[in-house]
Symmetry: C3
Subunit: 451 residues, 3 copies
């Protein structure tokens, strides 16, 4: 499969997929999607009927959190993936593309399962649907993290189409059949998304990826760009985990729990990063990624009475485990398990997601009897992630998607018009060399030589 | 006009304009501006009188949206204009300056028209006035997009002074005389702002601008910076279009409509960008700009019952039209119409703005009888933009404003202290060359040569 | 002290501090910290008891402001400190570390003073505690600004531990003993934090810092990164100053006042920056920093009836004073007072903070009798800042903290794994030089030479 000639020209396939799928969205939205009680012009009557004031429209409970989640999806995930030297366009740009497509498909898929009004067969959407659509997209963006730089935008669209579909089914089983709870999606979003991506990466294993290793590195400013992503994810994670919690103390507690969990993670990440590097120097990869693990793990139990110290403990463990994962597990997985994980999503999403699921099960078990439901939910997420990833990976191996050759990965040149580099030093060099040569061969000594 | 010696020293004019105008603002604010019922210390009585709770203060309905709009104005517009190789300081910095001035003047101008308390002759301001001031500023920032890199900060201040003034009059006519509706400002903000800027650019046509063409390009990291602007505009546009809508379902629906419109635009932008480039490679200019066209077009009809599928259709069309505009129309306008449009605001604001106005008229017409009012509003916006731009352009042609010469455009050196470049490779080269020369002329072969 | 061999290896000390202190946090949180009425599962009963609706949970009054403050702390302060050529990792990364630690310690320290429930000896936390913790952290981040590039992460942790402790005591005295008001923290946060940092810097004076002067400069893109910090601070400062104000008109007015103050500052900053530079060119340092001075000065009086024109006057003065400070005072302080202030916090936080304290005292005095209390509060902030800074500075002079040598400051290499630079031009140069040499010594003239 690696020997075939690679054609990375997506001039027909990418426009075709975008136009046809967007048209399909329009038709399906036309048939199925309408405003719900709170976003429809009948709100005034509805409000009076329920004796509510305007401020009790769900919009005001959730819109600030929604916007924070939206920032996480587009700037957070997008900029976190700009860290590669020459794949910043692909990182932030393809993230943008697949998120914009995914949220439309998610509104439909999740709508059919959760928001279908059986009186008229329509999906009724409001602000909570928008948040859930962003959540659903997050699963696919996590999967993209494992594949960053190694797939074509067409493959990413396919990954998203199937990913959203699988997500909606998995979510329905976990939340509505098993009745597990997962407000911040440790299981539903992170565990599923990470194993989905890792399984696809395993299916698309590239034995000669080392041929691109010169580009699988960061440069100084690309690392700073990635910190924009890290920080917006870190700061807004309390909104992510609280966005669809119950009004009142539910949202309030979820935000506090996540805030504490994340704070604790930063310290242990720094500790482990320094401890395992020569001379105690910090590694930007750890700071960019492992500091977020606490937010992932706080997801399931976010609105539970986890207690502030409990959050700190969870965050403490996640920082340690995630950073150790970057140091030891990622190289091991690439070498032994043949799983190439560009962004290290196994350390940032898979392990903390499973931890979050377990924390949720334990907390729930200690409070009531539904601990088993939580554990069952975690298993479903794992199965859908791995199983779905293998199937979708097999589809993505077909030689029709325009993916790059092994020596052509992590390079924006493949799918983007990349601007010429600043070559300011080149003319200087030329002039200098001319000058030197002239001297060597007896040329005149120019007075106002540059340099 | 192009042959005259250009003096770009603004050491007297820029401080003078800033200090004098800011002093004028203080005096006018002292005479005219006071807090309104909801921001004044009398709120408690007012609240009790109307039997409201504190949370029903307009602040809580609109402050999150206001902050999102604020981010769009300063980070969104500012960073969108950092894409040029050597004009990032001017892009984000002058944007900052004129927005900070413009919002003060807008509070006065819009206040006189809309918030004047006739009992005491004072303008009473609250959170909604702040949002409207930011909106008003947006018109001038759009105009700046056409002129980016070709004007002095003093010219920009003049552009803003007149732009805000024209905006306030135009807005009053459209909203309060004609009684058209335009919650997100497709007509009032985008159509007006774009044609205002394009007309000025036409008046300031530079036949020899090609002399600066080496700087009218991006570099890799400046394109990534611009994506920060793009994404914050894209993500927060739902807040922009819903910020001053009616409480309750109005704000809720406007946010949903805009969110959907924008999602759809991304896919068609990608499709057209890929389809019209050699090898199907995406062009960052399109991704940075045309993806936003749906937000512009959703403005007028944002709170109408546009229906989710209707939003997707509008977004679909805008992505196509805007991207085609960048490919075909911008070069045509520069060559044939002598309109030099640095950021392509014709494609991002002018055309989508007009589309938004038409969508508003059609939606309104299908719902009631005020479709004609909407169409009239669109015409007023066009007239004010073009007419105002020609007059202000004539003023800006006066040879007193310190604008750069044709071979000196798009260069931060003109108005900024620019740091020395990293010249890390230069010493290496010097040493290397010395080494080579030594070898050539029989020098000793140093052991630990760098490189 | 400067002659001793410097060991910057923090491989044991940094992990030890992080792990031990984080463990201490977990224990103290376990003993002391619980949810408050509004974030606890008993909210439903509490709400019914007080006849409130869910939306009147304090969460909805303050969460949007909290998130804005959170962005200021992590992205605002963090990116403002990325302006140095080779200290962007340290700027944003150490900011991240000490803020994440500081907010935990602040929840405890402030909790003991302000949120201790005497019935059970527990600190009860809700959203307002989170905001206050972020505020408390801000004081230490301001202090970091003076020391940027010259201290080790271990020193920063120590600075934060003591800084938070001092802050909590100082805040308790000012707000609860003296009963001064300081909603936006001009005195409590900015004056204290700035003098704390300046005193430490004075204690850690480096006479040979000029040896690192080659790195105490910015490059083009690091200045653009810093503008991200500037703008997020500038935009969200209205949230900072209003976050813990009274519900209703208090928050509303504080936001308006700060918004106006900051707008005015931008214009005078630009004016002074241009006026005092050769050729009237703007200096990025001023735009990045002095534009924020108005927000600092609006802190104390934010919720007072300062009147819109009063805000503009305060902003006007702060822009002038702060910019003049950067031009004249910072070099003077370094040369004569032996205070090296990397970010110029004296101009951005110290002077505007004192101005804010005075504005608060005058405004309060004109309204009632508590003007003297405000003045006393300002003195307490100054004393704690200077006194605390001298003591902590003495501790930080101990030769055990791993700080860099004078010729090794402002360099991320010391504490970070820094990626290799892009050396794309080097191969070209090599090839070119080979080509030239071949020519010189009679080599063949290759046809398709690169370059």
């Amino acid at each position: 499969m690696c020997d075939r000639e690679k054609n990375t020209n997506v001039r027909l396939s990418l426009p075709a997929v975008c136009i046809v799928w967007q048209t399909a969205m329009i038709i399906l939205f036309g048939v199925f999607i309408r405003y719900d009680h709170e976003s429809d012009a009948h709100w005034v009557e509805h409000r009076k009927h329920l004796n509510l004031t305007d401020i009790e429209n769900d919009f005001y409970f959730r819109y600030p959190s929604f916007q924070d989640v939206h920032v996480m999806i587009f700037v957070g995930f997008g900029f976190l993936m700009t860290f590669l030297k020459r794949y910043s366009f692909g990182g932030v740009g393809f993230n943008f593309l697949i998120a914009a497509f995914g949220l439309q498909w998610a509104l439909l898929m999740q709508g059919w399962f959760h928001s279908l009004d059986y009186t008229d067969g329509k999906i009724k959407i409001g602000i909570e649907n928008l948040i859930n659509a962003d959540f659903c997209v997050a699963g696919c963006l996590i999967a993209y993290g494992a594949l960053l730089g190694k797939v074509s935008p067409v493959q990413l669209m396919v990954l998203t189409l199937f990913g959203i579909t699988l997500f909606a089914v998995e979510e329905f089983i976990i939340l509505s059949v098993i009745h597990a709870r997962d407000a911040g999606g440790s299981m539903v979003i992170h565990t599923f998304g990470a194993y989905y991506g890792l399984s696809i990466s395993w299916m698309l294993y590239r034995p000669n990826l080392h041929q691109s290793s010169g580009l699988q590195v960061s440069v100084y400013h690309s690392d700073v760009f990635a910190m924009i992503g890290t920080l917006f994810l870190w700061m807004f994670w309390p909104s992510f985990n609280s966005a669809i919690c119950d009004h009142g103390d539910g949202q309030h507690r979820a935000a506090i729990n996540t805030y504490l969990c994340l704070a604790s993670t930063v310290l242990t990440t720094v500790a482990i990063s320094s401890l395992f590097q020569k001379h105690g120097k910090l590694d930007m990869v750890h700071i960019q990624n492992a500091t977020l693990a606490g937010g992932v793990a706080a997801g399931t139990a976010a609105e539970f009475m986890l207690m502030p110290y409990g959050c700190l403990i969870v965050g403490f463990c996640c920082g340690v485990i995630s950073t150790l994962g970057y140091i030891f597990l990622t190289p091991f997985m690439e070498k032994r398990l043949k799983i190439q994980d560009t962004c290290g999503i196994h350390n940032l999403h898979a392990m903390p997601g499973v931890i979050g699921g377990i924390v949720g099960a334990v907390t729930a078990a200690s409070a009531s009897v539904e601990g088993g439901h939580q554990a069952a939910g975690l298993c479903v997420a794992l199965c859908f992630g791995i199983g779905g990833g293998i199937i979708v990976g097999a589809i993505l191996r077909l030689p029709i998607w325009g993916d790059p050759a092994d020596d052509n990965c992590f390079d924006d040149e493949t799918y983007w018009e990349v601007p010429e580099e600043e070559e300011e030093s080149i003319p200087t060099i030329l002039q200098y060399n001319n000058h030197m040569r002239n001297k060597d061969i007896g040329g005149t000594n120019h007075q106002n030589q540059p340099l």
